[in-house]
């Protein structure tokens, strides 16, 4: 031990003797700059060390299920937009797929391709926002601005396809709201390399950044066994070394036909979660390119007059089309799936997003349960925070990528 080290040990001993250690209660949130929504984290600390913590949620609860039960099957898609508002298209698609299974219809191949294409663009937007926001909270504001630029490209593509950036209301039961606009493919091929450039820049800024590594490595580590026990899904589970991706484990839509890898981490700490998200964006981009290459021609909506709305030209030009439209939108008419139940899982930005729908044969869902991916993640915050410093709350919370709308529903 050098003299300098001895000096420090001496100081610590003196401090332990003279300064009484007392537990302190600290409230983070409900409204706190580092909280991505409204959530309250309560911690008890001795010095800087967290000895106990608890989470309070429900500030954004707005009765998603009750609202869906009171409206028709097709109206529910607008409520699903508001669940995960960073990647709403995945929510739309998940809900519509569940109802389609109840109805027993399949949608044309082009419709499936368009759904997957836009879902993957949304996933890139979701992950890049998560990474950027988490980096900003650690002081890397440049990274955040770069990611916002990339997200803007993704949103521009989504906006050109469905007219909205966040509240997309894109999927319909039996298809999608509209086919891709003209020139979408070339736009996509123009924007995707720009997003890839941003990911490269982000990689240069963060992956070997000493400050970033020090703040994230071995922080909030969860082993694979614990992650399964705590019900994790998505990037957090994969960062812990468990290769569970709904797109691979239970392929839905047309995901079987794509070539993509499922990245897996080793430590399950914040840094691994960041790496997994970065790699997933590259894989999503791979799927986007494959989609564009293989995009078939043809209709996007199922040709079933009892489910899909008629073309607007039909509605305005002939009586049959008008009647068909009314039969689908009037209260008490509309889609009537036969009585039954279905659970449809999809891979959302944060993990498995499941829709459990129950039909009693009427035009309104009897029950529509959304299995939110970040609910078990937020539940595990006390587990992850244990024996960490107060300053580690921010990177751990950032790595979860909590979405208030999805958590509280």
């Amino acid at each position: 031990m050098t003299t300098k080290e001895k000096q420090f040990v001496g100081v610590a001993e003196v401090m332990e003797e003279e300064i009484p250690v007392e537990e302190m209660f600290l409230n983070m949130g409900p409204s706190h700059p580092s909280m991505h929504g409204i959530v309250r984290i309560m911690v008890r600390i001795t010095g800087e060390r967290i000895v106990w913590s608890d989470v309070e949620i429900g500030y954004l609860h707005r009765a998603f299920e009750k609202s869906v039960e009171a409206n028709s099957w097709n109206s529910a898609t607008i409520y699903t937009d508001r669940l995960n508002y960073v990647s709403p298209i995945i929510n739309n698609v998940g809900y519509c797929m569940a109802v389609e299974k109840l109805l027993g219809i399949t949608i044309p191949e082009r419709g499936e391709y368009v759904r997957v294409l836009l879902s993957e663009i949304s996933r890139i937007a979701d992950h890049i926002t998560a990474v950027g926001a988490a980096a900003m909270e650690l002081g890397a504001f440049t990274a955040f601005l770069y990611t916002m630029k990339a997200r803007e490209y993704c949103y521009e593509l989504i906006e050109s396809a469905c007219g909205a950036r966040i509240t997309t209301n894109f999927a319909r039961v039996g298809g999608i709201c509209a086919d891709l606009p003209e020139g979408f493919e070339s736009e996509c091929r123009k924007y995707m390399p720009m997003v890839a450039d941003v990911i490269v820049e982000l990689d240069k800024l963060l992956t070997r950044n000493r400050i970033f590594i020090d703040r994230t490595k071995n922080i909030g580590a969860v082993s694979g066994e614990d992650a399964v026990k705590l019900g994790f899904t998505g990037p957090l589970l994969r960062a812990s070394g468990v290769a569970y991706d709904v797109r691979r484990a239970f392929p839905y839509s047309i995901y079987e036909t794509f070539d993509f890898a499922v990245p897996v981490g080793t430590n399950g700490d914040v840094f691994d979660r960041y790496l997994v998200r970065m790699e997933e964006m590259r894989q999503s981009m791979k799927i986007v390119y494959q989609c564009l290459d293989k995009l078939p021609d043809g209709p996007v909506n199922a040709i079933d007059k009892t489910v899909t709305k008629p073309d607007k030209t039909d509605v305005y030009d002939n009586i049959e089309g008008l009647m068909n439209q009314f039969k689908l939108v009037m209260d008490g008419h509309g889609i009537n799936p036969p009585p039954g139940e279905f659970y449809q899982p999809v891979e959302a930005g944060n993990g498995e997003l499941g829709f459990y729908v129950v039909s009693d044969g009427t035009d309104k869902p009897y029950k529509c349960r959304c299995r939110p991916p970040c609910f078990p993640l937020v539940q595990a915050i006390p587990f992850m925070l244990k024996d960490h410093m107060v300053a580690d709350v921010v990177p751990i919370f950032g790595s979860i990528n909590m979405i208030g709308g999805e958590l509280d529903r």
């Binding site: 209660f25 009171a70 027993g104 484990a249 079933d304 279905f342 009897y366 078990p376 595990a380």
Partner: protein
């Protein structure tokens, strides 16, 4: 054209045929908890079992540990209110087996009078908040839960909003301004483990 018309009659026939291939672990489970306590069916090709309330913990323990089942991952817990029917509530649990890549749905029928079932947090710790949510919105009590209190709504909320007899436009009485509570670490509950 790549469109399959909805042919509901055809579908029913297919699903009836599927009932034939029940997995072996379900048969073992049947032996373990008794035939009266278990029903199996395949609505829309999704394996669904209905377990009686008293045997749920035993059944879940079996499904988690059996070598062929290995349902290690808890996915979802919710309830459905079939008002006017007996029993009224149905708690629905979804499990996933990552090693075997399979899914199962477990249902437990619960009558209105007691609205109570044993907690499953002992077997799946991740079910903690899901059970709290179910209690909060449906009023189903989970006996033995370590911290069963409201999660989405505030403590003074009257009624259970997702029950079908709760009117959608019902208003709640105003709540007195509370003094901020001071929590102590010795009163609190351990995080799920």
């Amino acid at each position: 054209m790549l469109v399959t018309p909805p042919n509901r009659l055809l579908r029913l026939v297919i699903y009836k045929n599927n009932i034939m291939d029940i997995p072996a672990y379900i048969e073992r489970l049947e032996e373990k908890i008794g035939t009266d306590n278990l029903q199996t069916n395949y609505p829309h090709d999704q394996l669904t079992i209905t377990v009686s309330r008293d045997k749920i913990q035993e059944a879940l323990q079996f499904l988690r540990d059996d070598d062929e089942a290995l349902f290690d991952h808890f996915m979802d817990l919710t309830a459905v209110d079939y008002i006017g029917k007996q029993p009224r509530f149905q708690v629905v649990i979804h499990l996933v087996s990552i090693p075997k890549s399979q899914r199962i749905r477990i249902k437990i029928n619960i009558d209105d009078d007691s609205a109570e079932m044993p907690t499953i947090t002992g077997i799946y710790p991740a079910a903690d908040w899901f059970e709290r949510e179910c209690y909060d919105l449906y009023g189903i009590r989970f006996a033995g839960h370590p911290n069963l209190k409201r999660i989405m709504l505030y403590d003074e909320f009257e009624g259970y909003p997702l029950r079908k007899d709760y009117p959608i436009r019902k208003r709640q009485p105003r709540v007195e301004l509370r003094k901020p509570e001071v929590r102590r670490s010795d009163e609190t509950v351990e995080p799920p483990r």
